[in-house]
Subunit: 129 residues, 4 copies
């Protein structure tokens, strides 16, 4: 059994969950994306400061339950610098995130990116198994 | 076919999703809970103002994709009023949330509540099918 | 002496402050505006839910130190409803806020509103004395 | 005249402000502290990730109007690591912030730190002139 499998077998939260490990993997991927958007949207931003925010969001996501891997990019090309003080703020549309969650032998990859065809920052399941 | 089923059949986001309607229902329930915690934690609070915040969080959650039902309670018994100005702030531990999401014929109910045995504000899948 | 004057005379935080009551009134008005923007921006929103959010923000602001009066309006005319699920989010540009703070005999009124000439959501001191 | 003085003389926001440069310096210091608390409180955290969050908050504060200098420390000694996944979240009590704002020839230094005697995370004017 993999280390992840062992970890989950001992996970004291397990008894609270309905459904399968796969259900939980999808659920946890959703939590991470919802958390990122609503924690950091509104943060002041320039091209120069975007890397420090990307790094902080990645670090804060990795400490959360069951996260295997996370990548956060802020699309500074689409950022709107404005006003007399020439800075922008983080909006949902600027975020390009991918987060992978493992629960036992199940895995889910959640993604957030602005989809031009929908004019919407979509959170979706990119992989689940 | 139910109205929800019809709605999803026409949902233009559907093609972006891996997995089943059930996977997505679990994922969307996670998004809603992660969003609530990270949007509103830190909000100043007293027993008198808790109902207005509960109401605003419920309203903001209902406008999000695929939400069927949401209930938010702030446990003002556990709230910590302190300092010279006698108010508290919303913490994760005070939130008691249940949100139901429907995707086609699938449904997931996600919950957030402080679990004393774990000393942890747990987000979990209460139902999924 | 007014009740506000008496309250401040006994305020145990007073010894920590440099400057005058007027300085503090300006400072506290700034705190309240910065807090509002960064707590609630990103919250999901429609015209129908705006009143509940206005109400919750007002209530959360009133419990904070030294606030005399607060008014929050969300400009739903300027709100951008979009995407397949037809909702918006609170942005700084939608907020129209006025908050009055009293410290002893000093008072400051801070305001936040989108100023078209600057293309900027400006926080400014509307009155201070 | 100093560069800061010249900058303010040309600042197009100036006409919107009541009061003096000193009033505005105090006001802007308050904005920055309120913004920091309400943007980042709730962020997941461990001792290992605290430096990345400190760095991101400092960078996001420096891009805001009139900031001369900012220092953010997260008191990881007081952080509460808990639950089955062994992480904490940023609370107001963990923040130790000092931000200096200049408006023309006026300057204000605002600070936020947990004050044990008050059992309160106090935001105060440390210097204003």
């Amino acid at each position: 059994m993999s280390r992840a499998g062992t970890a989950m077998a001992n996970d004291p939260t397990r008894e609270y969950f309905a459904g399968t490990d796969r259900d939980r993997a999808a659920f946890e991927a959703g939590i991470k994306l919802g958390s990122i958007v609503h924690q950091y949207v509104g943060s002041p931003l320039t091209s120069a400061t975007a890397p420090s925010l990307e790094h902080a969001i990645e670090a804060a996501t990795r400490v959360q339950p069951l996260v295997e891997r996370v990548r956060v990019r802020i699309d500074t090309e689409r950022m709107r610098i404005r006003g007399p003080y020439k800075y922008g703020v983080l909006t949902e549309d600027l975020l390009d995130v991918e987060v992978s969650v493992r629960v036992g032998n199940a895995q889910a990859v959640g993604a957030l990116r602005y989809v031009p065809e929908l004019d919407y920052p979509l959170m979706y399941l990119k992989e689940v198994a």
